[in-house]
């Protein structure tokens, strides 16, 4: 540099030097030192390590510059398999927060880890720059299973029987069974239900040409298995025709429950069903594709309706040997999704029937249609939470949920909506928002229900030129109003000795019977490590509040359960003021207390 060193030049030089220094200082920050994460996998029932466990590290941070240490897996995830001595390691793990999960056949997948035996169990692994992690302990519990033999009414062992395990789903409308897994019995009538998490299950057995049908697209059935023909009616362990009389089986870590199931002779009747189809469109000739009738045992999942389709076509369907009992009739038809995949859709109301004599029934089908709409700004969750609108069929006899994603501008399009009465829910809203109202031309405002039948709401055929398709679209959207400012309620939980209780489940059950029918009107949260809790997004209502040490998920939606535990609840009114309406800490309902109320 020529010329005198004036103030400007000095400043420039200092700035330049600072720039160089900061540049030099910045360089290591662009590549934070990656570390090794390693540990051992163990089974819970032995001190010998468990080899060949697949361990997955999933980045919980939003940044896409996730680790690329182990083999395989999509970005943000890497995998490693522990060796014969249970040792695993991930190299080059970028600093950040991770979830760690481990899986091995015969063991329940595990999301927790410890930093050594006896150390507290954690679920989030924080990796800091330059600090390698060693000695992680991943403990896997042996998975439970249900195994046994299926017998006919005369003690014959039966192969080709469909054996299914169901979980209970509690809804404000009653208990429903959700199918978890299903297998076929083999020679000797033996079966094994596996990959079940510990919990309570119901088991059923079905044996008929109809129960074998869904297996045929997956398996080639033994050429020497005699056709079951009408077979036997579905039986629920320990020997009940009705799902509501069935007894649950508790599965614990590592246990194999030996459950034998025997079919019973029962009275059988014939059922003929007349299906009334909607008129084909006069101009388009559009007709329901492959309409058919399904007869399901009451209380099961409408999603399994395809397994219960009966003989017939066009408008006449029948089944010759139906065991005495309660059933649900529904009509199905084939629809196509956007990608061109075909799948069955429910196109009628559900018709509960009781069969104790030969009888007839009529089912009315309707062309399913689309309901486009939008939800207000206040209800749109921030990504990556997915906001969804859900129509949940109000039906104690059969469960069904129709969902549609809500895009970033609040728009959604519900597809293939059939007739029925549905609750409208919006999932994935901002934490303190609640659904105030969801309205349709003919529905109860207070309950936020929509009622769909062949006449209302009105709908129109619209041509989609780009795809050369006709769509049947509802003329009116569901008017959704969201209150983004729900009430926030805080409190504390203690045990009988007055000590604070962490990780207790807090449930606020609304007193108003109409509100009790909606899952989104219940306030649910957990107490933190200090025994304090905060519930958000509550509408102003009167509630009964409970704190449970440990509780089966969703059982508090069950009306019978609620009436039994009412004595230990605390009444509380949540008003616009919010805040701390509890005069004192809630007293936890311990596991022992709960045992006194259930079973």
């Amino acid at each position: 540099m020529s010329g005198a060193t004036g103030p400007l030049q000095v400043i420039t030089r200092i700035l330049f030097l600072l720039g160089v220094v900061s540049l030099v200082a910045a360089l290591p920050q662009q590549a934070p030192p990656r570390v090794t994460v390693s540990g051992i996998t163990f089974p819970a029932d032995s001190s010998e390590p468990l080899g060949f466990v697949t361990v997955t590290l999933t980045s919980l941070d939003d940044s896409p510059a996730a680790n690329r240490g182990g083999r395989g897996g999509p970005p943000g995830m890497s995998r490693a398999t522990s060796d014969g001595q249970g040792k695993f390691s991930f190299g080059l793990v970028a600093p950040g927060r991770y979830a760690i999960s481990s899986e091995r056949e015969g063991y329940t997948p595990e999301d927790h880890f410890q930093f050594g035996r006896g150390q507290p169990t954690q679920s989030i692994l924080t990796v800091t720059a330059g600090k390698k992690i060693e000695g992680l302990l991943l403990m896997l519990n042996p998975a439970p299973a249900i195994s046994g033999t299926v017998f006919g009414p005369y003690g014959q062992r039966l192969a080709g029987v469909t054996v299914q395990a169901y979980r209970v789903r509690y809804t404000p409308y009653g208990r429903q069974l959700v199918r978890e897994t299903s297998v076929l019995s083999h020679e000797g009538g033996e079966y094994r239900l596996f990959r079940l998490a510990p919990g309570y299950y119901y088991v059923s057995a079905s044996f008929s040409d109809r129960s074998l049908q869904p297996w045929k697209s997956l398996l080639e059935i033994s050429p020497n298995l005699p056709n079951p023909d009408d077979g036997y009616s579905t039986i629920f362990y320990p020997g009940e025709f009705k799902a509501s009389d069935a007894k649950s089986i508790g599965l614990y870590n590592g246990g194999v429950s030996m459950i034998d199931i025997g079919f019973k002779e029962s009275r059988y009747f014939s059922l003929s069903v007349k299906l009334i189809l909607p008129q084909p469109h006069p101009l388009l000739g559009y007709e329901l594709r492959n309409p058919r009738i399904a007869v399901l045992p009451t209380g099961t999942d409408l999603g399994t309706a395809s397994d219960y389709v009966i003989r017939g076509s066009g408008t006449n369907f029948s089944v010759n040997r139906l065991a005495e009992g309660d059933y649900v009739l529904v009509a199905l038809a084939d629809v196509q999704d956007g990608a061109g995949n075909g799948y069955p859709s429910v196109v009628s109301e559900t018709y509960p029937i009781h069969v104790s004599e030969n009888r007839e029934a009529t089912v009315v089908a309707m062309d399913p249609f689309e309901i486009p709409g939008s939800i207000p700004r206040g209800g749109i969750g921030s990504s990556p939470t997915k906001t969804q609108i859900q129509l949940v069929r109000i039906d104690s006899a059969a469960s069904q949920t129709i969902v549609a994603d809500v895009d970033s501008s609040g728009r959604y399009n519900l597809l293939n909506v059939g007739p029925g009465t549905y609750d409208v829910f919006v999932e994935g809203m901002p934490r303190n928002a609640y659904l105030q109202e969801a309205r349709f031309p003919n529905a109860d405002r207070r309950l936020s229900q929509v009622r769909i039948d062949a006449v209302l709401p009105s709908r129109t055929w619209v041509y989609d030129r780009a795809n050369d398709l006709w769509h049947l679209i509802c003329d009116s959207p569901i008017a959704v109003s969201v209150n983004p400012n729900g009430n926030v309620v805080s409190g504390g939980v203690v045990d009988h000795q007055g000590r604070k209780v962490a990780a207790a489940k807090i449930v606020l059950v609304p007193i108003d019977p109409a509100a009790r029918l909606r899952k989104d009107r219940y306030g649910i949260t957990y107490s933190d490590a200090m025994g304090e809790f905060q519930v958000q997004g509550l509408p102003p209502e009167a509630y009964t509040a409970y704190a449970f040490e440990k509780i089966e998920p969703d059982i508090y939606f069950d009306a019978e359960f609620n009436s039994r535990i009412a004595p230990v609840g605390r009444p509380v009114t949540v008003g616009a003021a919010g805040g701390r309406p509890f005069s004192s800490d809630l007293i936890v309902v311990s596991k022992a207390d709960l045992a006194g109320f259930t079973q």
Binding site: G106, G152, A159, S217, L218
Partner: protein
């Protein structure tokens, strides 16, 4: 008047006899052990099937059955299915049907990976060797099962025969309805199909010989993870040469379950890559790759058998409407014949590839088989009059009997089929070692060694209820007659198959235009 009344009374008074009844027993037991709850089905061509279950004494009774020829098909849990042909004469009830069932064999075992960790939800198949109409060998899956969390699978109650066991990863597909199956949690480790005792190539597979009542030990084997391979290519219309947008499907040869297929949609025009398709994530092996496409009113199809060893990027598929294969049938002697009941079939020599529909023959003996896809075919004619037989069938200069008929993308030269009129008839009975008639045996008249390669010279029949059979339209020459209690269809056409049985057949000459009888000893299933 009185006579009519008497007649009516007689009809009313006549007791209703059960028309067909009998008993199902366990053939293993030295004495008659009845089987309870066996399923007995009465099948005929003229009426819908009737089904009953046997009672505690193993008995079944069908009442009010019309006279006619029936197949009584019996199955029971744990036993091999058996079919008996029964001819019911009016006024003569049959109460003497006794059917003994043999215990059905089972194959079971455990599938593990190379670290000895069990693998669940592996599709394990019992694969049988099958034969095409000219004896070409292929495989067919006859039963499949899924392994459980211990890796254990059970392929239960298989028919007697020779099998391979093949294990492969199950690929769940959207839209394919399967019962709820815990496939979540699967690690996406990919296992290529492996044949017991652990080989990828079916040529190295061990053959498991199953016989009725076999008590086998476990067949365990290990699978190795492997990388997937891709099949990329282009599909176009043979006629226009233009790429086509359609669904391309690849199914493993011999597989049946739709869940095992791989699919991909090819790019539609007017894109410059029209017709390009990608089937990713496949495993090495032999596949049937197929597609169809409607071009206006024409339906274009393609089926191609292909062995995929590694990723293939230039696989060409050509769709075509198929060609017409026409011809005319005439008697050698020049005599006029009414051939309207004759049917002409072109059977694909490869059992994995499709065959066109059977064609009718008009008054002048002309026929046209429509929509024949490119491939090789064996010509077969049924319902030839009297004892006529197909003596020669030439397409241009090509002899389509000694070699299969090759069809490319256009019609082959017109087929001139000549019927020999000096065929003979052979009646006979199949007996066992004790001289008793054997029903439902497969009777095969095999030409002498010099003419073994001519499938059109073989005659096949199934013996009836009384062990009797009739073979028609036998060309003059030297033959050997065999009867098997059970045999895989067309196995006798496979070059080396007969070697083991050569000395158990009865040799004789068939002169022209003759009629003869024969008694043949059955080769038992063991």
């Amino acid at each position: 008047m009185i006579a009519t009344l008497l007649l009516l009374l007689l009809q009313v008074a006549a007791p209703t006899q059960p028309a067909l009844s009998g008993m199902v027993v366990d053939a293993r037991a030295p004495f008659l052990q009845p089987l309870f709850d066996a399923r007995v089905e009465l099948v005929s061509d003229s009426s819908s099937p009737l089904t009953l279950r046997t009672d505690a004494n193993g008995r079944f009774v069908f009442s009010n059955v019309r006279a006619g020829r029936y197949r009584v098909s019996v199955s029971g849990q744990g036993f091999l299915r058996k079919t008996r042909t029964v001819t019911l004469v009016a006024g003569q009830p049959r109460n003497d049907i006794v059917i003994g069932l043999d215990a059905a064999p089972t194959i079971y075992g455990r599938i593990k990976d190379t670290n000895n960790v069990p693998i669940a939800n592996i599709l394990v198949e019992a694969i049988k060797v099958v034969y095409g109409p000219r004896g070409d060998r292929s495989v067919a899956s006859v039963e499949s099962a899924l392994s459980d969390d211990r890796g254990e699978y059970h392929l239960y109650w298989l028919d007697s025969g020779d099998y391979y066991i093949r294990a492969s990863a199950l690929m769940p597909k959207p839209g394919v309805p399967v019962p709820a199956n815990p496939l979540a949690n699967s690690f996406n480790t990919f296992f290529a199909p492996t044949y017991y005792p652990g080989f990828r190539d079916p040529k190295d597979a061990a053959t498991i010989h199953l016989r009725a009542g076999a008590n086998l030990s476990a067949f365990d084997f290990r699978l190795q993870p492997t990388s997937t391979v891709d099949l990329w290519g282009n599909i176009s219309s043979y006629g226009t040469g233009e790429g086509v947008g359609t669904l391309v499907t690849a199914m493993p040869a011999g597989a049946v379950a739709s869940v095992q297929k791989f699919e991909g949609k090819s790019i539609s025009p007017p894109d410059k890559n029209a017709g390009d398709f990608k089937l990713n994530g496949m495993f090495p092996g032999t596949f049937i790759v197929s597609a169809q496409f409607s071009q206006g009113s024409q339906k274009l199809t393609v089926h191609r058998k292909f062995t995929l060893k590694g990723t293939e990027r230039a696989f060409i598929l050509k769709l075509s409407p198929g060609s017409a294969v026409s011809g005319g049938i005439a008697a050698e002697s020049g005599a006029a014949l009414d051939l309207r009941s004759v049917r002409v079939a072109l059977d694909s020599t490869d059992p994995d590839l499709p065959s066109p529909e059977i064609a009718a023959v008009d008054r002048d003996g002309q026929f046209a088989v429509a929509r024949v896809e490119p491939g090789e075919y064996a010509i077969r004619m049924v319902n030839l009059p009297g004892e006529a037989y197909l003596k020669s069938a030439k397409s241009g200069d090509a002899d389509t009997l000694s070699k299969p008929l090759r069809v490319e993308y256009g019609s082959p030269p017109i087929i001139r089929a000549v019927l020999g009129m000096d065929g003979s008839r052979l009646e006979g009975t199949v007996v066992d070692g004790a001289g008793r008639a054997v029903p439902d045996a497969t009777v095969v008249l095999v030409p002498d060694l010099a003419r073994r390669d001519a499938p059109e010279l073989y005659r096949i029949e199934t013996s009836g209820d009384d062990g009797r059979f009739t073979l028609h339209g036998i060309p003059p020459g030297e033959y050997k007659l065999f009867a098997w209690e059970s045999i895989e269809p067309n196995a006798y056409l496979y070059s080396s198959y007969l070697g083991a049985y050569e000395n158990r057949g009865t040799a004789f000459s068939v002169p022209a235009s003759s009629s003869g009888t024969a008694t043949v000893r059955v080769i038992p299933a063991d």
